[in-house]
Symmetry: C2
Subunit: 269 residues, 2 copies
DNA sequence: CGTCGGGTTGATAACTTTCAAATTTCGTGG
DNA sequence: CCACGAAATTTGAAAGTTATCAACCCGACG
């Protein structure tokens, strides 16, 4: 049920021509990352699972580099990411960019912007993206038919919010190394939740420039920090692959909240 | 109707014994900052106004320095701040603190934590605080009777969220001076919305330590930055009073989004 | 092949913190 | 009303962190 069949997802070419899948899955054959993630919060029945899958009807594809949403754009849609990664960011007057958050497969996109109508940030695909457009009415209908799903979505949304806050804390009070470590751990925890990674590593399509704009650093410094982390035997981030060599060391360095990593079963039976 | 009668709010003693009120108001005689703020988003009828005022029945007082909410605490309540300032913050393992957000009179407190049940941050009063405890059921009832209020509250919540994001951007991509300027402007805009300040200044009970923990700086550096801003003729922050001497200069320096400052009438008639 | 977008490294500059000490302000008890 | 101690502000000097500039390398791709 959870076998991932790589077909058209982003692929990372490694030395020696090994391919690693970063998020594609075949619809219909397996449950989506979205169901999988929600399933981690609330134990879902088959009926609830299929109610979720029905949300994935209006499938759309977005190419790399073309913004899905612009600052100030109205007529927002909400999406569920099926495969690929996107980032939401803001641009300052001097051209500097700050990435606020990434959305990974299984994440909801623009849930709030729909309510608020206008978006105050840009959203850009990092990789080729497949997403299901979700109409507000469909969502509400699903919620009223299967209320436990509403709980699960709310839970997921709260987690996203908590992550933005943790990101803020990182920028304010962690140094470059701690910040980078924290970010890599968090990414890992999120990916693990949707079956795209483990505590030992994951495929990651982010360039050092993207990392820099996320961590509030310069790309050059990100490079140095990654080297230090590598030399310390903590993590390796090379060729699109993050390998965690010393989980405890990293968690320790980053002051990472382990509860993210550790919940195996659903929180709500 | 909007006369503010200072009675028991925080007062700031200035040179020459001038007192400035920072948030007290007499309940019953005037509408609360909360109604006032929501009124800025959605034009409210008298009936809606009084529906709001009814939410203020369970009044509670919190002294300075005693946390209202602890990290990990369950059984959350939601509050509407009537007077005084509070901050929400996180503490890192090494003892460093990052303030995520301030709540000012008229702000909602813990709206989300109620849903999520446990709080992942601490909340502490900066000044003596008066807040109305709001029961979820009362809130929902109010919303169903006066749906436009739900819109307004949602609007306010979205604004709060946007502010956290903007804060994150500041920490990531603005230097100390820009960041400080941005923060002071934002605070001003928020206070103006509830009638506690104008574009020329406001009373502010924050110490330089609090500022430092907000801006991700050291207290010493905050002090220097404030001096620079003062010497540049932009703002003055002394004796609990922020005076904006060159609004355009500040807005320019901070790359501040003026739409915050400029909406005079309600956005939704 | 040549270009182009990453990645890597060194040298230098800019920004921010830390430490230490003096000064001012504030609250409280006499 | 004054005096005292605690807390907050202010300033200087030195150290640490991160950015910027410049150069070079490498693999992918047309």
């Amino acid at each position: 049920m959870l076998v991932l069949t790589p077909i058209y997802g982003l692929r990372v070419r490694l030395r020696h021509r090994i391919f690693i899948d970063t998020g594609a899955f075949v619809l219909g054959e397996v449950h989506s990352p979205f169901s999988r993630k929600l399933g981690a919060f609330v134990a879902l029945s088959d009926q609830e699972m299929s109610a979720l899958d029905r949300l994935h009807s209006r499938r759309r594809i977005f190419p790399v580099g073309v913004d899905m949403v612009h600052q100030g754009q109205t007529d927002q849609a909400a999406y569920i990411l099926a495969s690929g990664w996107v980032c939401s960011y803001k641009i300052l007057a001097d051209g500097a960019r700050q990435i606020v958050d990434f959305q990974l497969p299984g994440d909801f996109l623009g849930l709030r912007s729909v309510l608020f109508r206008t978006s105050d940030h840009n959203i850009e695909p990092i990789t080729k993206v497949e997403a299901s457009e979700v109409l507000v009415c469909d969502l509400l209908e699903t919620f009223s038919e299967t209320p436990r799903l509403a709980t699960a979505v709310l839970w997921a949304a709260s987690r996203d919010e908590a992550m933005v806050v943790e990101h803020l804390v990182s920028l304010g009070r962690r140094n470059a190394k701690e910040r980078t470590a924290h970010f890599l751990l968090e990414l890992g925890a999120r990916l693990k939740l949707v079956g795209l990674g483990s505590t030992s590593g994951y495929a990651c399509p982010l360039s050092q420039y993207l990392l820099a704009d996320t961590l509030g650093l310069s790309a050059v410094h990100v490079n140095r920090v990654l080297r230090e982390l590598r030399e310390d035997g903590l993590v390796t981030f090379q060729n699109g692959l993050v390998e965690i060599h010393d989980l405890n060391g990293l968690v320790d360095l980053a002051d990472f909240d382990k509860t993210y990593l550790d919940h195996e079963g659903p929180l709500l039976k």
